[in-house]
Each structure stands twice: as structure tokens, then as C-alpha cells.
Amino acid sequence: MRRIISVLVENEPGALSRIVGLFAQRNYNIESLTVAPTEDETLSRLTVVTDGKPETIEQITKQLNKLIDVVKLVDLTEGAHIERELMLIKVKAHGALRAEIKRTADIFRGQIVDVTSGVYTVQLTGTGEKLDAFIDAVGESTVLEVVRSGVTGIARGEKVLSL
């Protein structure tokens, strides 16, 4: 089962390596991982997408909680939540393709953020599925380079993950 776990960690050197190391050491999957400082400069927020049986997910959350640097965590997939991923994608854009790419980007509410005579760089946000769909729509043969941020997420409603 795919889960999105949001973790508040102390903004300390080595904290990230403890978390990544835990996943490697205990043979847990990491599908994606994002991390950045928060509005509280002593904390970083990390979002990890993982996959496993319910008892494995339970162990993952328990083992993460055991790390001294982990302050708090929540499994976002347990409730209603919003997930987003950012993609920057460089595609061929010449001749008839140029207008076609522009139209497709508009449909997906993407923005063209860099232009050359033969190449568009499109910025797109959404769920992983939406980003996959865009790649399909423009056609893999036109894709030159893709960079994706990995998933970040937040719970819907009044629930907040904070100290």
C-alpha cells in the first residue's frame, strides 16, 4: 500500500542521513523523498512516499518516531489530504509541435518557463498521475529531459502538523 508520511525533524546536520539510513537498514522502500526547512528555522519537514504491507508501514512510523531527531510525524494517507509534485520538463518544440505543446501545457495548466527556437521548458504541478499523463500526452519521443521534485503533501481541513 502506498503511503505518504510527513515528518517534522530537528534541523540538525545528519538528521536526514539517519532517516534515509533507517529505510536502507530496515529494508523499507522509498518511492520519493522531499525535504526543506519550515517557517520554524529549527525544524525541517520531510515527506516520504513509501510502499508496504500495513504491518511494515506500522514499523516504519514506529522506527521513525524512535529516531531522536524526529519530532513528530503523520501518515497523510490515513485521512483526506492534498498531494503535489512539481515537474520541469524540457520538450522538443519546433514546427507544428510548437503550438501543440503550448496547447497541451495549457490543458494541464502548465506554464512554459523557458523558450529557445527548438525547445520549450514546461513547469507543471499536480499529483504524480497528472505529471505522468502530461508526459504521455506530449509523447515520449518529444521529451528531452524531466526533473520531478517528489511528492509533498498536507492534510485537508483543520488538521495541522506542527509542534
Binding site: 530537528e10 546536520p13 545528519g14 542521513s17 539517519r18 539510513g21 537498514q25 504491518e55 506500522e58 514499523q59 514506529k62 522506527q63 518516531n65 524512535k66 531522536i68 531527531d69 524526529v70 519530532v71 513528530k72 509542534l163
Partner: protein, 581 residues
Amino acid sequence: MTEGKQVELLSGADMVVRALADEGVEYIYGYPGGALLHVYDAIFRQDKITHILVRHEQAATHMADGYARSSGKAGVALVTSGPGATNTITGIATAYMDSIPMVVLSGQVPSRFIGTDMFQETDMVGISRPIVKHSFLVKRAEDIPEVIKKAFYIAQTGRPGPVVVDLPKDITDLTKKFPYEYPGKVKIRSYNPPQKGHTGQIRKAVDLLMKARRPIIYAGGGVVLGDASDQLTRLAKQTGVPVTNTLMGLGSYPGTDDQFVGMLGMHGSYTANLAMHHSDLVLAVGVRFDDRVTNSTSKFCPTAKIVHVDIDPASIAKTVPVDVPIVGPVLSVLKEMNDLAVASAGAQDKEALSNWWKQINEWRSGQGGLFPYETAEGIIKPQQVVQALYEVTKNDDAYITTDVGQHQMFAAQHYLFNKPNRWITSGGLGTMGFGLPAAMGVKLHNPDATVACVTGEGSIQMNIQELSTCRQYDLGVKVINLNNQALGMVRQWQTMQYSSRYSHSYMESLPDFKKLVEAYGHVGITVTEAKDLMPAMEEAFSLKDRLVFLDVAVDTNEHVYPMQIKDGSMRDMWLTKTERT
């Protein structure tokens, strides 16, 4: 800094040593080197802490570990950067697997050179990361007192474990001084070990325990670490429930008591393993359902409800599903259970319990005791040596350490511990070379105590250099070497599962241990005849202040039984070489 109060100015190196003293540390075990020279100079200039110079850094960690297991307080090792640090890894992992409080202070190259592959540089925080409870790389000298306070706090609270503090050489600079104050306590917002179990869950557990018809208490190292032996004994006594101990839990319940059915698991007693298998309620306290206990988890205790008490939530339902989980310190949880059990004593089905005991006693007497074995004319059986050791030391409140292998299992089976913290063995990691330095750590802190290391000729050679340390500090430990001229446990598996192809389990060119220990300035006694065993054992322990190495030639072909059969349930065991359940 308190205003008006005279504030002491200390260098980083002096702060390290002073902080340890203020933490109440008496002994540290270590080995100097370039990155630690400032700290060693600070040690030279004070007299609050005694430094013990080991011969190999691994032994420093095992000494700290042995002390910790016997006292419940964190042991401290001090090692230099690079190889000094890497040599501690086995000792740190040993402590980690058995949840032993330990603080390892490692030297590091100066901050500005970190990452340049400087002479004797290694990423200690990185290399130890998977085997520590936590670690610190100290960045500023001013932080030293607080970091050391935090290290001890983390190591000794909750589920204990080792903590590494890496000290770059520049922060210990003797010429730079800082105001020193040792914090009385520290708070770490992200670390709040549980203080109490959930009362509703505890009530449920007691209810199940009182209603059970075939209950058993399965108690482990957590009871020893959590200082809960008295409460465990009280609960067992007032409910009349049988008790089995894990390897790590030996001593948490009196080994000579009739309600004790022996160790359980791979080499556990027939009685304990059968009682577990047939029970309808397992009260698991301070245990982790280790593979050496459960055998196949899918066949584990098929008719039992399981109550699991542990301070570490990650231990619960890790390998075996649990019916009533209770997260909390075993001491307070058992105390609550005891109080509730008194109130609901009437609920117990005494008749069912008495039938259960009838069954257990049949298993026990049918086997001729918990760990039966056959003796043979003209051969010393390793079990006989452990029994002789027990006979000679049983009234001395002795501490027994072991190495790893057959001798460890024989000691666990045949030495009966009536108190916690007396049985000191590497259970989780199974570290050969642990026994002698661990015994040294115990002896140093308990100079009048009887301390013996049960070992084998394989294990003892993994840290035999420490005989030199024993000489330097007059550590009169006794070493009981069950010398079967083979790596016994490996050989046993090769006999049973590899058609007796003894691949590298045979040791050629063993030293003459008597001469060897004499060369180190100790007493060596060799025993080859059964009739000499008891007199030699008595002689060894009569030489109170000397290290005596008793080298006993034991049967090479003896196996440890019972031995659980792979992929089976708890009751599937080999009982002798030819007989199985």
C-alpha cells in the same frame, strides 16, 4: 552563567573530563591517540576519574558494557579517531542489540579538516549510525557539557542504548577556555520516553491473566534493564503462574525457584518450550520475540493470547501479532498489574491452574529435569564444568560473563541466577571476545565480587590481549575455558546439517593456555581428568586476588540440547542426537 557566582573557565578537553566526573563516572576505558592528546592531557591533570588503558579499543567498549550490565548505569569508552573509532564498532553494535547504556567518546580530526581524508580520519558518526541510539558531532567547545549530559540522558533512559560523541581535536584545544557549568538536567523536545502504561490496557491484561487456564510469563532483558525483577517475582508468586526467561532475562526471576521452567527458545528447556506452545496466555514482559525464541513465527503459540509489555513501541507487533499491547516502563506496568491482581485474586481458576502445573511437572520430571545430559566415563562434559562452577560460586553472589557459542548456552542452561545483573552475555549480536573484557569491567567496579568468564578456546582468543590489562590493574577475574578444541556451535551445526563436513571449525595449533597466561603474569591451571575438575575449580576461586585461567579439556562431540528444529513451532526440538519431539 549565574551572576555573582565564580564561573570556572575550562578548555574543551578539561570540560570533557570534568563533565564525566560531574555525571558520576568513576572509570573510563580507553586508548590514546593523536586526536585525543588534549583530552589525555586533561585526564593526566585530574584525579576524579580513573582511566583504564585497554590493549584494543573493542575491549574498552566491552568493559563499559560489562559495567553497564552489572550496574544499570552507562559505561564510558574513550578512543581516538580513525582506527580507534572503528575498533569500537563491534562493541557498540553489541550494546545496541542488547539495549545497553553506553557512551563512546571518539576523537576526530580538527573540524576544518573533516572530509579531507586526513591521517586517521573516519566518519565515526556515519559509520556508527545504524548501531547507535543517537550520536553527536560536537561543533563548538561551549556545547560540550550539554552534549555530554544529553548523551547520558539518552543512553540511560527509555530503551537504553549506546550514544557516540565525536570530538574534533580543535574543540578540545587546551589554550582556549570557556565558562563551564554542568547542566543538572536536560530536556529534548523530540525525545520523551513513556513514563507509564495505559491503565485500560493493563486492566485488560490482568483480566486475561486471571482468567487464563494455561498462562505463562515470558520475561526478558527488559525486566533486568527496567529494574523490575522484584515486581515480576511478586506477580508470579501471587498468581502462581510459571515463568520462563529469555537468554537476556536470566536472573530477572530466581533460577532456583520451582515456578521457573528454565530458559526458552532455540536451546531452551523442553518444559519451557512446551509450556509456551500449549499456553492459552503468554504474558511477555521486556522481550522482543527474537527469532532465537519464537522459531517459526507463523507456528508460534497457536492457542495463546499474547500480552506484550515493552517500553519500546517498535518492539511490539514487530514479528508476532499481539492481542494486548502495553507501552510503558516494565516496572510501573508490573506494579500496576500486581495491585490489580491482588484485587481480582478471586477470579482465578485455581483448578485449571493446578492441572496446568500437573502437566508442566510431568514434562519436567519426564525429562529428568530442565536440562538433562548424559555423562561418560573418562570424559569431562562441558555441562559438568558449568555445574562445578555453580557449586563453587553459588553462595558468592557471583557475576558470570560469557563469550558466544556452545559454552554460552551451557552456562545459560546450568548456572542458576537468583538475581538480575549477574548474568552478562552478548545475546543479540552474539559477539565472541565479549566475555573477558566484560568481566574486567564488572570486576573493576566490584573489586570484592566473584567474577567469572565462561568461555571457549575460540572466543577467548578474540580478546586475549586483555590479559595484559588485567595484569596492569590487578583484575582477579576467573576464566573458565571450556576447551573442546573446536568451534563447538559451528561444529554442532556441521554435524547436524552438513553431514559432519567440519569446514574451518577445527582449530589447529592452539596455544598452551597455561603457559600463555603465565607469560602474562597470571595463574594457569589445566584440567584433563574428570577427577581433577572440582579441586581445580575450588583452587581457582580460593586464589581471591589473582586472575586464574582454568583450561578444561571437554568433550569435542557434545551438542547443546534441546535444539529447536528450523521452521517448526516452539515444541519442535531435537532432545538428543537421535531423539526428537
